[in-house]
């Protein structure tokens, strides 16, 4: 029983994110697959690498449909051991379709 508990906790810790926040609008309209960027925050966010996350795949006026910020076990451990001075995270973003296309045709 103890072995199972240890196994489950170890697997849960290593296979899942130790932190994750998802932001999306009430009617998400995704313009494609998520893009993944590795980022690091230093000194409590005073320095960030990259300087800011550029959602470069969002072209032609597209905004963001979804942003997921997550930290896995290894990233969480680095943050813990450095007392938050180095805080790596993974950012996933999806572009939003620019607008609702008008209905064509009709009439007659």
């Amino acid at each position: 029983m103890l072995k199972r508990a240890i196994a489950a906790l170890a697997m849960a810790a290593t296979t899942s994110g130790c932190m994750q926040y998802l932001v999306q609008p009430p009617q998400p309209s995704l313009a494609g697959t998520p893009q993944t960027i590795e980022a690091k925050s230093y000194a409590g966010g005073k320095v960030q690498q990259p300087g800011f996350i550029s959602a470069a795949r969002c072209a032609n006026g597209e905004q963001l449909a979804r942003v997921l910020v997550k930290r896995n076990f290894a990233q969480g451990f680095v943050s813990w051991i450095t007392l938050g001075m180095i805080a790596p995270a993974t950012i996933e973003y999806s572009c939003a379709n620019a607008s609702e296309p008008p209905m064509g045709g009709g009439g007659d």
Binding site: P34, G104, G106, D108
Partner: protein, 510 residues
Amino acid sequence: MAAPQPSFNPKKLWKNFHETYHQVIDGEWDIFMPQQTAGLTVADLKETTAQFQKLIGDAKQQGLKVRAIGSSWSLSKAPTTSGWTFNTNRLRGRLKVKATDVDPAYPGTAGQKSGLYLFQCGNTVADVNKALETDAQKRALFTSGAANGQTIVGATQCGTHGSALEFGALHDHIVALHLITTADKHYWIERKSRPVMAKAWVDSLGAKLMRDDDDLFNAVVVSFGSFGVVSAVVLETAPRYLLETRPTQVKLTEDLWKAIGGLDFSVEPFNGDKPYFFQAVINPSSDDVLIMVNYRRDDPGNFQPNYDLISPPKSIGPGFDALSTLGVILDAFKGVIPPFSKLAAKQLFDTTPKTGTPGMIYGYKPPLLHVASGSIAVALPDARKTIETLIQLYKDIGPVPLVLGCRYVRKSPALLAFNRFPMGMMISIDGVDSTTSRAFFAAAPDRVEAAGIAFTQHWGKINSYTPQRVAKAYGANLQKWLDARHKLIPAAADRALFDNDYIKERGLAG
């Protein structure tokens, strides 16, 4: 206005939406829609066609495979490719078919004729619902799957269905489609028995009209992207209506079996009131059944749909990635599965009574990774035997973090339709992706087969199709489907562009 040129993304790892598997690819092409001020035109469709054809030609020259991919919603590997993926999500043009563009031989009623709409492949089911259900259009889909994030082409290519008792699956709305097969060929395909678009309109698109028989259309309409790029579809729609949901929690009694196994609604809790939509969700770890019934209300007047999915700031629910951890924990602690299943059924199925358009009822859901789902369809007379077989399997290898959702769909003329039976019961096995769940999915078809029950499996969900099972399930339709693929893509090298391991392993490639 001209569309921006396709943009290459050197992405090497593609994951399906629910992140239950990944695939190494050679890059992704983003395809853009022409800027529209007055709605989609034939010129826009031609421009997009030319862009797809250029990319198909380039891929062939470079020895790469290709696939058009929508929302990546499938839990099966049906949409995968090892080469280039074409991201179609931005192709969301739509138009109401003009009466003058309809073929004079169209056999539909005046009401059906005024409810024909063309949607480009990247429109999601949510987009289609929202476009149809406006005050300006006052139309609706006859049926829909539980989710709305799939593209209309992705969902229909894999056979997505709902549980409207008098209708087929989502693909049974489609009456015409535009197919791009090679760098120099594209087709407008319809059934001979149901001509839709006037030849002059098809000629203006520059596509070759194919409607010499029904088989060609019936092959392509459910083909998992194996025939090329399905660039647009024409749907027949219903006048706008509302659905009134009446969810109830009941026990699995002999009376209830009459409804689940025979669609007899004279029993409690229906009392003779036949619903438009019926689903029974059985928790195999107990005798609890969640009854989801929706009643149709026509002529909703000026009802204003609200599609918003809002998570109240103080609410608590499973996070985006909750199920990946839960799967591991439930594998280790099987004893907690039965109470968990009860809780999960409440999370998976909205049990709040409400009234709304189909687009609201089958609307946005909280996104969850690592869901597990597979479906088996059987003829209605085999319904009870099949459910009992699966409950026995659950007892033999369980408990398993899954519930059995029983839905009902009428037969489709599509050659490889999941809804193959005159009235079929689709058992949707839904829950958490875990080792025991996967064992259940692997064993379920074996058990149903051993019980001597004829069945099909959902192409877009976890399935255990083999070439033998596909041949047994579809009989002569299988050869017709293969023949249609050879007819539309005669050269083996061109067919190979759209081959993937999924169709190879099911005897559908080559």
